[in-house]
């Protein structure tokens, strides 16, 4: 509990300190950590609790980001998104654009989940990876929206009276979303639904034998996870004012998995720690050498081989399954 309070204090006060020191760079870092943490938490829901090793999570984040950016692009250009059979204009109004982006990510998760959840194990990993790659190539092919170069956003979404262009305001919005996501997921994994989900990870055959049509529950979790990832994508696009195929790259999916495992699977708080550790490590190693991945790769291997419990486990003492 004390640990949680400390962490929260850092998250709340850190950017304020950075602001007063005139170091906006660190506000951006905090923002990026919080955004990545939302994506990682959503992955933890299916990976840590549901036992589904999805290697395509970046796709859902990317869809959320691209939908936001494309809608904003059309709003800025004054060009309707769709002219026929009915005119649909673009929008940079968060109240419209964000739910649309989340819904698009959820829809993608539904379709991908319907096919890939028919398999398990290695095949599931490979199929989610392949579908994510499909979407990656799809956005590259969108020449109108920048293709390989990505798409610059004219500005952040408008959200009521909030000034999202203010760095701190935007950060606190992201933080609020992150906390809300963690709290909701915490309730979720302890609910009846969550018990089924956790049961699926431990012994799916048993759950089927006692009468759960497990595929429905797994699919529902997959879609929820995709939707939350889409929300992370919305914030990602707004945070960097830019979307690019790199946001959907398969290596990014790998990074999300790393964050979850690094921080502690099936803990929800762990992925936040993992995201922070990953991005800080990237920053430190990256400033020491351009070839930081040559160091990070072996570090990752050593962690996997010898320290599976993750940061959260190391801090709290034991993994808590909620």
């Amino acid at each position: 509990m004390a640990l949680l309070a400390c962490g929260l204090a850092v998250l709340v006060l850190g950017p304020l300190v950075a602001q007063s020191l005139g170091e906006p760079f660190y506000i951006r870092l905090f923002t990026r950590i919080a955004v990545m943490a939302i994506a990682a938490v959503s992955l933890d829901l299916i990976l840590g609790y549901g036992g589904m090793v999805s290697f395509g999570h970046a796709a859902f984040v990317g869809i959320g980001a691209y939908v936001t950016a494309i809608l904003a692009y059309h709003a800025a250009a004054g060009e309707p998104l769709l002219a026929w059979p009915m005119v649909i204009p673009g929008t940079d109004n968060a109240v419209i654009a964000w739910p649309l982006a989340v819904a698009a990510a959820a829809l993608a998760a539904l379709v991908i989940g319907l096919v890939s959840l028919r398999t398990t194990g290695i095949a599931f990993i490979m199929i989610t990876l392949a579908f994510a790659q499909m979407l990656y190539f799809f956005v590259i092919a969108l020449q109108k929206y920048g293709g390989e170069d990505g798409l610059q956003m004219a500005g952040r979404s408008r959200l009521g009276g909030l000034d999202l262009d203010g760095r701190l305001t935007f950060y606190y919005l992201v933080l609020a979303v992150l906390i809300a996501v963690i709290v909701c997921c915490r309730r979720l994994v302890g609910s009846r639904f969550g018990m089924v989900l956790q049961g699926c990870r431990q012994n799916e055959r048993r759950l089927r034998a006692i009468g759960f049509a497990t595929e429905r529950y797994r699919l529902a979790a997959f879609v929820m996870s995709g939707a939350i990832a889409g929300l992370a994508g919305v914030l990602l696009a707004n945070g960097q004012n830019y979307v690019s195929p790199a946001d959907l790259a398969w290596t990014r999916s790998g990074e999300y998995i790393v964050m979850v495992v690094f921080g502690g699977m099936g803990t929800l708080i762990g992925p936040l720690l993992g995201a922070a550790a990953y991005l800080v490590l990237e920053l430190l190693l990256g400033s020491a050498t351009t070839h930081w991945q040559a160091i990070f790769g072996p570090v990752l291997i050593v962690i996997v081989l010898f320290a599976k419990r993750g940061l959260y486990g190391a801090l709290v003492g034991r993994a808590d399954d909620g």
Partner: protein, 286 residues
Amino acid sequence: MLVEQGLNGLQLGIMLFLMAAGLTLVLGIMNVVNLAHGSLYMLGAYFAASLQQWTGSFVLAVAIAVPATAAIGIVIEMATLRTLYGRDHLDQVLCTFGLILFLNEMTRILWGAVPLRMTLPATLAGTVALWPGIAYPAFRLAIIATGILVALLLYLIIARTRLGMLIHAGASDRMMVGALGIDIKSLFTLVFGLGAALAGLAGTMAGPLLAVQVGMGDGILILTLVVIVIGGIGSVRGAFVAALLVGLIDTFGRILLPPALADMGIYVLMAVVLFWRPQGLFAAHG
């Protein structure tokens, strides 16, 4: 035109088969996810490109690059993957993901960021007239021929030899192989080395067609995974059929479909196959 594209598709399919055959065996027999398979392909290409620059001989470059890649593969197997058998797939994914980051970056350190080029020897650089009016690059034909040769060889190994029998038995019943008193560790290392050699071969052949650069293995890795999933994990025959299917559909998709959809063709194929048969076209039993 149609023939030419058909051959292009065939050639892509053959490349994919070389990649998939090794990986599907590794997956099927050892039940290990090895994402670093694409890195072996990349290393094969780099070895070949460098060796060609040193020796000036294409044939010599290929002849050395393939066993060199196999050797690297065996070292990787013994150093990391060996500890991962029997652990869950997530560990394997993460560990081999770390390997990719490492190998990509080491390649960048050793060879630099500028792509290398490979040149073809005169005998393979030209075109061959298939019949009057239709000329086709000789090198691509050579790739197709090599691939078919390898497929035949693999078929003979699996169907006719003791090693093949063990591979077959290993895929369906690992306990039995252990019970036969076979050193399963050596078997795994051998199969992994074989897979690495095939990936290296594919890499050396891709060298003259594509730019040899860091990350070239990532794209083909994912295509390879698609092939394996469609073919059925562990099935070399499935890999062959699926590789050709994917090669042809990808090639023709690019001609017939608008660009946004062309890249998605094979994934749609994968989705359709999986919806119909979740275990793939040729599921290895057991």
